[in-house]
Structures are given as structure tokens and as C-alpha cells.
Subunit: 204 residues, 2 copies
DNA sequence: AGCATAAACGGACTTTACCCCGCTTAGTAT
DNA sequence: ATACTAAGCGGGGTAAAGTCCGTTTATGCT
């Protein structure tokens, strides 16, 4: 009469076949994205068929079309997170909070520009949150770094939210507006703007 | 052999019947929203039928479902814009740029919280831009005010974009996350956070 | 091994946004 | 007035997202 090993908080781990299917679906999705151009060629029906699974399964796994792209993005983001949490400074721990903030922005900008298409498709009108604001990792990390700066008289969670938005906003804008126009120096420009903003906000 | 009165830039004004239908559709949409609860009860078919028009007409007028909500929002925003451009200070012209910036944020937060449902429905995954970043008025106005502050060594358009995002981000977040949880003091909190941010960025 | 049960599966079904294209009509030039 | 034309109209048609529910299967317990 043991209690279940996963006490009560964790909603029970994913079943083995489910996990396998998830991986398989993600892999199939990647393949399809690589073959065909454009993220909107990836329909749920097509993905299901291509993967040799039922449509219901796809929806059970990812909930929504956008969910697939979020999953793909999360997947790619693992390495990035690793760098942030345990990599070398200034992105990883060890550098001054201010430097880490700046490094974080730079890295995130680069990452998202590399994944623009996925990022775009991971948005969704019907589903609650519009991207930038979502990304709990970004917000949490920024909040932590801000906390270390000991700015006084500040609403920390709110400032973190603002800065997260300020980081993603320009990205979303260029991601969806131009998509191809002058792409080279935009990254530099956004990075620089982020750096400036941080300096101003955190009293550089 | 006169040249057309609208030189070439303006793509020819809307035909009278078209304009009438647009107004009628918007009015009908408002009615339906008032009667039924929830924005997602408003389907294109239903709207067309209720208005006694063809479905094609609805799409011709607004392009997309989200387009309807954007139109509704724009419509309501007229009065707001009027206040910004010609109303009394500090929102309108006459006050110091810094005060106007703060007042603008306060007003926009209030406006969007009042129109949360529309704002939410005006988002759209397939359509390019995710809301906050869109709103060209906001960005333009903020850019103008920042310009008057003569901050030096700053990438003005980019800073305007960042601040626009920082203004809308928290809104979008609370709009879509809680939707109803503690609603009273959120407005105050966001307003205050905006004020703080502006002070920090613009060297208060 | 055998059993119980909660999770996963499949795929038909429903709903809805959005497209298409032949017909009608407002605006304009003669 | 008349004729011309571009814009607007209608509503059936399509495709894709998301739902439902009866069936199958992994997993933990005895």
C-alpha cells in the first residue's frame, strides 16, 4: 500500500509510448519543415499521416498547432538554456549581473533570429499569450539578474516583464514586418539598443 | 481629361455602399458582442447573416476575423487619439515631454484594460504582427515625445519600439493570463511601473 | 502471470475561417 | 441619358483546426 512515487504535485510522468510518439512527431515535423518551404505547409493532418499516427494523437501531444512549434523551439532552446545556467560568463554565472543581462539579451536575439520561422509560428491568436510575454524562462532569468542588482523601490516582477517585452518587441516587429529586408545589421542594432536600455534602466 | 483627383498614392476612396456596409457590419458586431458573451461567439457567418449581407462582403471589408476587432478597436480609439493630439495636458500638447509620456502610458493602460476582450481578439497568429508591436500610433507618439527629450547617443526608433513593447507587454500578459483575477490594483501597478521605467530611462 | 485502470490511440465528425468567381451596381466620362 | 469600368456583392466550396468517443495498451499491484 505505498503511496505513488510521484507524490501529488507532478501529474504522473508521460507514458513510454507517448514519449516515443512525441519524439517521433517532432522529428517528422523537422523533416517536413526541411523538405518543404514555409512553416504553414505543416498541417496537422499531414504531420499525422506522415508520422503514421492518428490525428487525435497529434493533438493530444501538442494541444494545438502552435504547440508543435513551441515544442520544437523548446527543444532547440535546451542548449541555449544550458549556456545560460551553467556555461561560461558573461552569459553563464560568474559575471556581474549587469554584464549577464546584456549578454543574455545578445544571446536571445541571436537565437530568435536564427529561429525566426518557428518563433513566428509558435504565436497564436486563440491561445492566450503572444510569445514574448510568455517565455517564462526569459522573464524568470531577467528577474533573477535584476534582483541581484538591488535596485531600490522597484516592482521587480513588473520590471522584469517590461524588459522581457522590450527585448522581444523589436524582434517580433522585424520578424514579422520585413522578414528579409536588410537582415545583417539588424542584429547588431537590436543588440546595441538592448545594451543601451539596460544601461539606462540599471544606472550604468 | 482631368487627372483623377486623388493623385496616385491614395488607392481611391471607398465606395459609398461599401462604407455603409462597413459601418453596418461594425454596428452589428457590437450588438452581437453585447448580447452574447465572449468574443469567440462572433463568427463570420453569423455576423454576415445577422447583418443581412453575404459572407464574402464581410471578408472583403475586413480581410480577416481579427480585422473586425482591429476595426472596432480603431473606432473606439478615435476619441482617445483626439485627447492625445489635441486634448488638455498632460496627455495633450502643452506639458513637458516626460509628463506626456507618463500620461500617455497611463491613458493607454486604462484604455486597453477597458477593451481587453477586443484587444485580445484583435491578435492573430497567421497575420503578421502580434498586437503591441503593431499599434503604429503608440510607437509614433512615443517616438515623438522621446525626440523632444533630446536624449543623446540613442537609437530613437528602436528605443521607441522597446518602450512600446514594455508598455504593452504587461498588459498582454495580464490580459491573457488572469483575465479576471484581482483586477482593481493591477491598473495602478502597471501605471506605476510605467512611470518608474520612464523615469529610469529618461533620467528622472 | 493475471488484473484493474488510467492513459493513449485513431479517425470520423464538426466547425469556421477564408477563397473563388460569375453577377450586380456605384461612380464617371462622354 | 448612356455606356463603360472598376469596385462591390453573394454564397457555395475548400481545407484545416480542433473535438469526441469507442477501442487498445502500458503500467503498477497482487
Amino acid at each position: 500500500m505505498e503511496r505513488p512515487l510521484l507524490p501529488l504535485g507532478a501529474p504522473r510522468a508521460e507514458r513510454a509510448d507517448a514519449a516515443r510518439n512525441r519524439r517521433h512527431l517532432l522529428a517528422t515535423a523537422r523533416t517536413m519543415l526541411a523538405e518543404q518551404g514555409g512553416a504553414d505547409c505543416l498541417t496537422m493532418d499531414a504531420l499525422a499521416e506522415r508520422a503514421g499516427l492518428g490525428k487525435g494523437t497529434v493533438f493530444r501531444r501538442f494541444g494545438t498547432r502552435a504547440g508543435i512549434f513551441q515544442a520544437l523551439l523548446d527543444d532547440d532552446e535546451q542548449a541555449f538554456q544550458q549556456q545560460v545556467m551553467a556555461g561560461p560568463p558573461p552569459l553563464g554565472p560568474g559575471a556581474a549581473p549587469l554584464d549577464r543581462l546584456i549578454a543574455y539579451g545578445r544571446a536571445r536575439i541571436a537565437f530568435l533570429l536564427d529561429h525566426r520561422e518557428m518563433a513566428r509560428a509558435a504565436l497564436d491568436g486563440s491561445l492566450p499569450v503572444p510569445a514574448g510575454t510568455e517565455t517564462p524562462l526569459s522573464r524568470t532569468h531577467i528577474r533573477m539578474l535584476l534582483g541581484q542588482l538591488r535596485l531600490d523601490g522597484v516592482d521587480l516582477p513588473m520590471l522584469a516583464l517590461q524588459l522581457t517585452a522590450a527585448l522581444d518587441g523589436p524582434l517580433l516587429f522585424y520578424l514579422s514586418n520585413s522578414d528579409l529586408t536588410e537582415s545583417t545589421d539588424i542584429q547588431k542594432r537590436m543588440t546595441r539598443a538592448w545594451e543601451d536600455l539596460i544601461q539606462r534602466v540599471c544606472g550604468g
